[in-house]
Amino acid sequence: MTYRARHLLGIEPLHPTEIITLLDLADSYVDLNRQHKKRSDVLAGLTQVNMFFENSTRTQASFELAGKRLGADVMNMSMQASSIKKGETLIDTAMTLNAMHPDLLVVRHPHSGAVNLLAEKVNCAVLNAGDGRHEHPTQALLDALTIRRAKGRLHRLNIAICGDIAHSRVARSNILLLGKLENRIRLIGPPTLIPGPMAEMGVEVYDDMREGLSGCDVVMMLRLQKERMDGGFIPSEREYYHRYGLDSEKLSVAKPDAIVMHPGPMNRGVEIDGTLADDINRSVIQEQVEMGVAVRMAAMDLLAQNLRAGAAA
């Protein structure tokens, strides 16, 4: 089974084999990206528009680079400063853009479900680059690729996701993806940052770092999303760091070869110790960024193939 969907809106609708297809293709793009001449033309003639309704540096850069390396014409639209401020609705913005015939639309939006809404109204393929607290599928895919390359497999691993789960779309997409591939997932964080019903998602919930990290293969740290906190989730950053910040002492209870991940941008000294983040023997944070470009190339390649197949049919 190959990847057939028209959009990439989330991990939830994906079949495990679709995920594997995507990751396999991404692997080949990792090789391409490491060559001197990093150029393919599978998206030649196609137009990719990056529409970011929320600040982003790394994700937008990653999508832009991915598109350019595949030969697409890439346009960045920073929606924060544009017509939305003048009162235009999301749908109108989408319709306006749709009239310009883009082929791939990469969207980030501060509200859950906004990308799904937009996808209903346009003719092109839509990639979700993060919507509210809902999903961030390419982040989960790049995390999966990083884990698979570091661990040699992507099943039956003990994976801990730590920190601000409540506000994290990365956590949701990762829980869904890693769960579909039969891994054991543990969520670790203060109860104020892990919604109670999370426990029903086939995960184990811990509020103690050492207990939760014990025997883990993979430790994923999440950024404390200060901008989404509308009041009193944690008493202070220093207490948070003391109890939930990852340092080598807390990491010592995980497996000796456990890898440390972070989707970035990091708050050093809040959720992760700076030295540990830079430890090339444990931290794969830089690899995650590298895999990000490859995964986004693979996703856009597959969606473009489906676009062509749709046009031919």
Partner: protein, 429 residues
């Protein structure tokens, strides 16, 4: 005798019975209920208008407590004319309209304006509720006495919770002295602020800010404590969760003058119906999980919850075609209340007299209105319907100006065949 509804299945919510028979109407009032075997005046008798009910159900017209009409301020969403037509088509013979308009109905002058508009344009009866505090801002009470004299049947700030308990207790005391009914939205404002869904696995998966169902219990417990303190007449607009029911039971057992309602949407839909961020399913309070829905259905059947209404809230397309969190809340319901309620009848959980007790008799009684009954002396506000007729709802066939129904494309059973207000036919299919 001027009208004779013969060969009807008479639904009497007061007696709790369903009988075959005939109903006689004179000068807008029901004058007699005749058994099936009673001799009827001959066909040629000229002064009698005979209406053959063909064995279909004849029930007292629905008294819909909590209808939002967009007048004043939002006529593009719903006017008295369109709301009245929708009501007639849905078997609603009295709309109890909400004061959460733009501007709010918080002065006798606004109330008078609305009443005049309604009398000019609405084919069905209506009665207005007034705001409890000026501007629904929760600071100063409205002129409860003047508004009551001007015809306000109840006082409510709609879905604005009156946060300041001191202000609320004074409003309750003052209204209580006048015998005015206060209707409140039981909800803890701190927990529910900024939320769009009920907490649960589904809300987590969809990444929606969610409120615990416990917030409803907390709001209700506070309100009931204040009612105990002040002795006011109190109605909770919508009780939609399991957790709130014991508090309601305790208050009723303690003899407080307390009643509660629920919307048809909370009885027939649950949180999962939101699906892929379908904003027509965004209502206030948000849809609950299935256990809550079942508990509330049970409470309605037992009579713990008294009234069932549509909470008709028209919203235009623009305010719904937005990301879920930003989209407006509410659903239209005047025309779908009866067929949706009949889902409970077809599922075998409620009988027809029970449904009409909740939809017609209880709201009329609570507001001291004469309707909701099927007995001599009651107004001839009637609905004739076929409880079995199946149809698929197309939202663009609705009479409402706004088409935001969660039942679009739903398979429903039960069609209204005629609606009469004071003996005058206001709807025919």
């Amino acid at each position: 005798m001027t009208q004779l509804f013969h060969n009807a299945r008479l639904i009497d919510p007061e007696a709790g019975t369903e009988t075959r028979g005939h109903l006689a109407v004179d000068a807008g009032q029901i004058t007699a209920i005749l058994p099936e075997a009673a001799p009827l005046p001959p066909d040629r008798f000229p002064l009698v208008q005979r209406i053959d009910c063909r064995g279909l159900c004849l029930a007292p017209g629905i008294v819909d407590l909590g209808v939002k009409v967009g007048e004043p301020g939002e006529r593009h969403k719903e006017s008295f004319k369109t709301a009245g037509r929708a009501a007639a088509a849905g078997g609603v013979t009295t709309m109890i309209t909400r004061p959460d308009t733009l501007t709010p109905i918080d002065s006798p002058e606004t109330l008078e304006f609305v009443t005049r508009r309604g009398l000019d344009a609405s084919p069905v009866r209506f009665a207005s509720m007034a705001a409890l505090t000026k501007g629904r801002a929760g600071q100063e009470m409205v002129e409860i006495g003047f508004l009551k004299d001007a015809g306000a049947v109840a006082f409510t700030d709609g879905d604005h919770v009156l946060e300041n308990s001191r202000v609320f207790s004074r409003c309750l005391s003052y209204a209580g002295a006048l015998g005015a009914l206060v209707i409140a939205h039981p909800q803890d404002p701190g927990l529910s602020r900024g939320t769009a869904a009920t907490s649960g696995k589904f809300a987590v998966l969809r990444g929606l800010p969610a409120v615990s169902p416990m917030a409803e219990r907390m709001g209700l417990e506070r309100d009931l404590a204040l009612v105990e303190m002040t002795g006011a007449r109190y109605h909770a607009d919508q009780v939609t969760t399991r957790a709130a029911l014991p508090a309601l039971r305790r208050a009723k057992d303690a003899g407080l003058d307390v009643t509660a309602g629920v919307s048809i949407h909370h009885l027939t839909l649950n949180a999962l119906d939101v699906g892929d961020y379908r904003t027509f399913f965004k209502i206030k309070p948000p849809l609950r999980d299935e256990e809550d829905r079942l508990a509330v259905v049970e409470a309605l059947r037992d009579g713990l919850i008294d009234t069932l209404s549509s909470y008709h809230t028209p919203q235009d397309e623009e305010s719904k075609r937005l990301p879920f969190e930003e989209a407006a809340s509410g659903a239209v319901g005047l025309e779908t209340l009866l067929p949706a309620a009949l889902r409970l009848y077809h599922a075998g959980v409620m009988d027809l007299p029970g449904l009409f007790r909740a939809m017609a008799l209880n709201p009329a009684r609570r507001l001291n209105l004469p309707g909701g009954r099927l007995c001599p002396g009651a107004p001839a506000d009637l609905v004739l319907f076929d409880p079995d007729a199946p149809f698929v709802l197309d939202r663009f066939t609705l009479q409402s100006k706004s088409k935001n129904t969660p039942f679009d494309g739903a398979r429903l059973q039960g069609r209204v065949q005629g609606t009469w207000v004071g003996g005058t036919r206001v709807f025919a299919p």
